[in-house]
């Protein structure tokens, strides 16, 4: 079974190749069969491999497969090779499975779109690139997947290319992430130049011989971190993600919630030994995560567009994953990645259903009262929302975030981070249920009756359900102490295990988290369902409206970047359109022409002038001879 590993990333790429070469000539049905078939088959193989791997783990818990030697110059010899361990396997199976469900959903969502084949071509390419990223055994191949998913993100955000706003959002996403990619690339140069290899296990082995905190690991980790921040939309490079919502909703669910944006988390987890060797950078990871989740939560509270709320929520949840990474709780970060992939994809798919049913309405305040008309959608959305807000026992996955907070609290000097995280818990519950109350409760608005396609609802419900129960294995451990995901991941990600000194600790903290989340929901209920007039009066005060505008505009980052980078670059480019260097040559040409003019004017046919010139010339020559 394991030897089929290469098929997992290749199958979607084959699907892409077929769709690209046929270039829209195929019937919709054939496109669906090829695209969904390729990804589903890949997901089935991924699941089969997971089962095979867990039953009989290969020697050393790692299975690797070399497809071909990519290039070789001296010892610069990256191969196209795959690396399967607990970490990459978890990522692989989640990515492949969620991708397959979202492909099925897309056949319904995109059914009437003229670019049907193009859409699925891009989606297949994305899945292939993402699986390559996850399974790569060396940094260069990982970088290939990394840039590949970035390209697909650009292509899919700008999928509806006729609207310049969509294209601009796509360009913004690509440029901002490319800045991070460039830092990542410099990190690769540094690691190769210093260590002479790009193979990830070899790099990690080599780097662990360095002293913690020495220059090389610190510089390399910092460069990789910038790459991860841009890809995972962490402060201060988060500005592209909310705009990325311009893409079709399945894209937002797959790329901008479940998979690509968590690539930064994966990179840090994959390279965790490097980050351990750079304590300062690791601390920065934790702080960036904690601050990002808070900042994004505030922004989420003020948005009207349902997809932008979810986008800020994604930024915020990835902030939690960064926090987990920063305190060395690798397994907790990956666990949260998995549950987040399910419930956030579900929320997006639910939002997609709602948007589709209301004729592309994105403003939550124009929705309202949808609970009766779409009960199944409502319940699934509610469960996903409860999972996001982490409220047991309605959701069993409540502990994925709580694990992170526990680890933050127990880590050295992590109390401050813990408090930030706790505030975030409150805000998460508040913005999530603000959305739930406004969209599904309240007075219904009259609109034409529509029913969502079954191909859309089914994947959505499955994801919401999976999100809510994904925590069962972890919960069983807490009660019975059996083998669980975290300890499984630990085989690839050895890290410190921190436990509360007393047995009551977990329960006490659990109580705090649940109370905080419930308080958040209660506040949302009060302010948006019970007494919305209070909200309006708070927002209408001068401080209130100022804060609202500030948070709504993503804390002014876009404005700042526009003034600092984008504006000056565009203006300078425009001024210099004709290239200042050419002025020099134009000047030369002008001088020659002037001299030419002067000399030609001496050829004037005037004999007296010629005689005078000859005489003058003779005097000068004779004079020179005499003097010299």
């Amino acid at each position: 079974m394991l030897s089929l590993l290469w098929l997992v990333p290749i199958l979607p790429l084959v699907g892409f190749a077929i769709l690209a070469v046929t270039a829209g000539q195929l019937a919709r049905k054939a496109v669906s069969v090829i695209a969904v078939g390729a990804v589903s088959l890949s997901a089935l193989i991924a699941i089969g491999i997971t089962v095979a791997y867990t039953i009989t783990a290969p020697a050393g818990t790692v299975y690797s497969q070399t497809l071909w030697q990519w290039m070789r110059v001296g010892n610069f010899a990256p191969a196209v090779a795959l690396h399967l361990d607990a970490l990459s396997m978890t990522m692989m199976v989640v990515v492949a499975f969620v991708s397959a469900l979202i492909h099925i959903y897309s056949t319904g969502f995109m059914a009437d779109d003229t670019g049907y084949s193009r859409f699925f071509a891009y989606m297949n390419l994305f899945v292939g690139a993402m699986l390559t990223l996850v399974l790569a055994d060396n940094l260069l191949l990982l970088y290939l997947g990394w840039e590949g998913v970035g390209l697909c993100s650009y292509l899919l955000i700008g999928f509806w290319y006729r609207d310049p706003d969509n294209v601009r959002a796509a360009l913004k996403a690509f440029f901002v992430t490319r800045i991070g990619d460039t830092a990542f690339a410099i990190g690769i140069f540094l690691l190769f130049t210093s260590l002479g290899t790009l193979n990830i296990p070899a790099v990690l082995d080599e780097i662990s011989t360095y002293a913690p905190g020495s220059t090389l690991p610190t510089a390399a980790a910092a460069l990789l971190l910038v790459g991860a921040m841009a890809k995972s939309a962490q402060l201060p490079l988060q500005t592209w993600l909310p705009d990325a919502m311009a893409g079709p909703t399945p894209v937002s669910a797959l790329i901008h919630a479940a998979t690509m944006v968590t690539a930064g988390v994966y990179l840090i987890a994959r390279m965790h030994t490097l980050f351990v060797m750079a304590p300062a950078v690791l601390l920065a990871v934790a702080i960036i995560g904690a601050v990002t989740q808070l900042v994004a939560s505030f922004s989420a509270l003020t948005q009207y567009d349902i997809k932008r709320i979810l986008a800020y929520s994604t930024i915020s949840q990835i902030g939690y994953m960064f926090l987990a990474l920063g305190v060395g709780a690798w397994a907790a970060a990956i666990y949260h990645f998995g549950t987040h992939a399910f419930f956030k994809a579900a929320l997006f798919l639910g939002a997609g259903v709602v948007i589709k049913m209301l004729d592309e309405e994105h403003d939550i305040f124009k929705m309202g009262g949808l609970r009766h008309r779409y009960p199944l959608t409502f319940w699934a959305f509610l469960f996903a929302a409860l999972t996001l807000a982490a409220v047991p026992p309605l959701t069993i996955t409540f502990n994925s975030k709580d694990l992170i907070l526990n680890q933050a609290f127990l880590s050295k000097g992590g109390r401050g981070l813990w408090i930030l995280g706790l505030i975030g818990t409150f805000l998460t519950a508040a913005y999530t249920f603000r959305m739930v109350f406004v969209v599904f409760f309240g007075p219904a608005q009259s609109r034409p009756e529509k029913t969502p396609a079954r191909s859309m609802v089914a994947p959505f419900v499955v994801l919401a359900f999976l999100g809510a129960i994904a925590g069962i294995p972890e919960l069983l451990t807490a009660i019975f102490g059996s083998q669980n995901l975290s300890s499984f991941l630990r085989s690839a990600l050895p890290g410190p295990t921190r436990d509360f000194p007393s047995a009551d600790g977990p329960w006490l903290f659990q109580l705090i988290y649940v109370a905080t989340a419930l308080a958040g929901i209660a506040v949302a209920y009060l302010l948006y369902e019970r007494a919305p007039q209070y909200t309006r009066s708070v927002v209408s005060t001068s401080v209130g409206s100022w804060l609202h505008r500030w948070w709504f505009a993503d804390w002014g980052f876009d404005w700042l970047y526009q003034k600092l980078f984008v504006g000056p670059y565009v203006v300078l480019a425009r001024i210099n359109r004709n290239d200042v260097v050419d002025l020099f040559y134009k000047g030369l040409a002008l001088i020659s022409r002037v001299i030419n003019g002067l000399l030609s004017s001496t050829v004037n046919g005037n004999v007296r002038w010629y005689v005078a010139a000859v005489a003058g010339g003779a005097v000068i020559v004779v004079g020179l001879v005499v003097i010299l």
Partner: protein, 522 residues
């Protein structure tokens, strides 16, 4: 004999096409096409038989040579030689030659026979440049490729063609003059030292003692090639010439003629003057880095699509210059891949812009918009080429640029990091081009056909080669290896450049002593 055959087929094909053209324009195009196809077939045969022999060579690094006396008393011989580097570049010449003839199939309607004569003679000159091992012969071919190119721009070009052709001619002729002065100076210096008057590459290769005169000679070579490359500062002829030339002219200019500059550095400037080049290495690397960023910056500013593509060449060849003067194995191999990749991706983009101009009679990006809906195949091709041009991994340009920067990092981390910003700037201009032409609201304009079979065949071939070089560049790397090896072994300039930057002296693979045998396996 094969080498002379290549030149005879190309130049003779040009004459035949001209003669036949008086009778039928269609036959003229086919003759030109078939002549270049014959070249390509011959080159593939050479490559395959070389690879099949396991890279065994009679006289490394030369695969093939021919050598006849020409002007005996002056020591001038008709000496051609092909090593891996020449093989790659001549193959690129034949490949892009076919693409140019194909791209001109409907675009060129006036003076068709003369057009194909000039085009094929330019190509013959270019091949000669890549093959000549006698400096006098080299200079002969250098000029041979220039003069037909001047007519190609001046006769079949666009609105501002006359001025552009003048500018092109003055710049390259100025550079050529310095080069010729350098060649003559070297000829006499060599004669004074050894008593032998010879233009032979091998004779002159013995190295020149350090002196300010030798440095001046090196500077002559450097400037001659720098104008062609073009190195930033000497680049202002390029946008005019590329923009005003007909499509075939732009493809040959960008894809091939600029490569002769890079080839000149690799074949002549560095091996003939290793010590003097070392003194110049850090300056050249800085110029390369500036070129990468400044070229990309200028490209973004343009409103004329063809001019935008033209400026990207300055940026791409900045990578080549950087890699050549970084001088270690990785950087040199990377520079060679950059040369090939740039020829394909930029050549392809010029064909796209040419096809647009043929359909809509404009190149202005503010007059074109939202073309994807009406001509999606061209949109897809343009997107692919733009993405290749911005250096997406898995495509040819990435391999070259990444190798150059990895190699450069060992010599100067600071320059490598600054040059890496080219990744960001190249993505800006590439995707901006796609946005302005193919995305955004659809303009109402005249109906235009999407890419036809002929155009798809050209683009299909280009795309296939770009992907091949991106996912499995090893055959090219292996072919170029002997040349790179001999360069590295003579290249003391690497060490000096490293010293000046105060960084580690050796590249990583020299430290770890990688098993060379492994490198040879294919």
């Amino acid at each position: 004999m094969i080498l002379a055959g290549l030149l005879i087929i190309t130049a003779g094909g040009g004459i035949l096409a001209w003669v036949v053209g008086a009778w039928s324009e269609r036959a003229c195009r086919w003759v030109a096409l078939l002549a270049l196809c014959a070249d390509l077939a011959l080159l593939i045969f050479v490559w395959v038989s070389y690879s099949a022999s396991g890279g065994a060579l009679m006289e490394p690094p030369w695969l093939l040579q021919i050598d006849y006396p020409w002007i005996g008393p002056l020591g001038i011989r008709f000496h051609l030689g092909m090593d891996g580097l020449s093989l790659l570049l001549v193959t690129l010449t034949a490949f892009l030659g076919i693409a140019s003839v194909g791209a001109s199939w409907t675009e060129i309607r006036e003076h068709v026979p003369a057009f194909h004569l000039t085009l094929l003679w330019t190509l013959a000159g270019t091949m000669g440049v890549f093959l000549a091992l006698d400096l006098f012969l080299f200079y002969f071919f250098w000029e041979l490729m220039l003069v037909p190119m001047y007519f190609l721009i001046g006769i079949w070009g666009h609105e501002g063609r006359v001025r552009a052709a003048y500018k092109f001619f003055l710049f390259t002729q100025g550079g050529g003059l310095l080069l010729f002065a350098g060649i003559l100076g070297l000829y006499f210096l060599h004669a004074r030292n050894t008593g032998v008057y010879s233009f032979q590459y091998r004779e002159l290769l013995q190295g020149v003692a350090s002196s300010s005169f030798a440095f001046m000679l090196m500077l002559g070579f450097f400037l001659g090639f720098a104008v062609k490359l073009p190195v930033v500062g000497l680049h202002t002829w390029l946008p005019d010439a590329h923009t005003e030339a007909p499509t075939a002219g732009s493809v040959v200019l960008a894809g091939l003629m600029l490569k002769t500059g890079a080839y000149g550095f690799l074949r002549f400037a560095l091996p003939l003057f290793p010590n003097q080049s070392a003194e110049l290495a850090s300056a050249a690397m800085i110029l390369g880095t500036i070129g990468i960023l400044y070229g990309a910056f200028l490209a973004f500013a343009q409103t004329d699509a063809k001019r935008l593509v033209a400026y990207t060449s300055i940026s791409h060849l900045g990578f080549a210059l950087l890699g050549i003067y970084a001088g270690n194995r990785l950087a040199l191999q990377g520079a060679i891949i950059v040369l090939l990749a740039h020829g394909l991706s930029t050549g392809g983009l010029f064909i796209v812009v040419g096809a647009l101009q043929e359909r809509f009679h404009t190149r202005r990006m503010d007059e074109l918009s939202g073309l994807w809906s009406s001509i999606p195949r061209m949109g897809g091709v343009a997107m692919f080429l733009a993405v290749a041009s911005l250096g997406l991994p898995g495509l040819a340009n990435f391999v070259g640029e990444f190798l150059v920067l990895t190699g450069t990092f060992a010599v100067s981390p600071v320059l490598a990091a600054i040059a890496a910003l080219g990744f960001v700037l190249s993505s800006i201009y590439s995707l901006w081009l796609i946005y302005r032409l193919f995305q955004g609201p659809e303009r109402r304009m005249k109906e235009a056909p999407d890419l036809g079979g002929r155009e798809m065949a050209i683009f299909g071939a280009i795309i296939a080669v770009i992907i091949w070089l991106g996912v499995y560049p090893q055959p090219v790397l292996t072919t170029a290896k002997p040349t790179v090896d001999s360069l590295v072994s003579s290249a003391t300039y690497v060490m000096q450049a490293a010293d000046e930057f105060g960084e580690r002296e050796r590249s990583p693979y020299e430290e770890t002593g990688a098993p060379e045998a492994e490198y040879d396996e294919r």
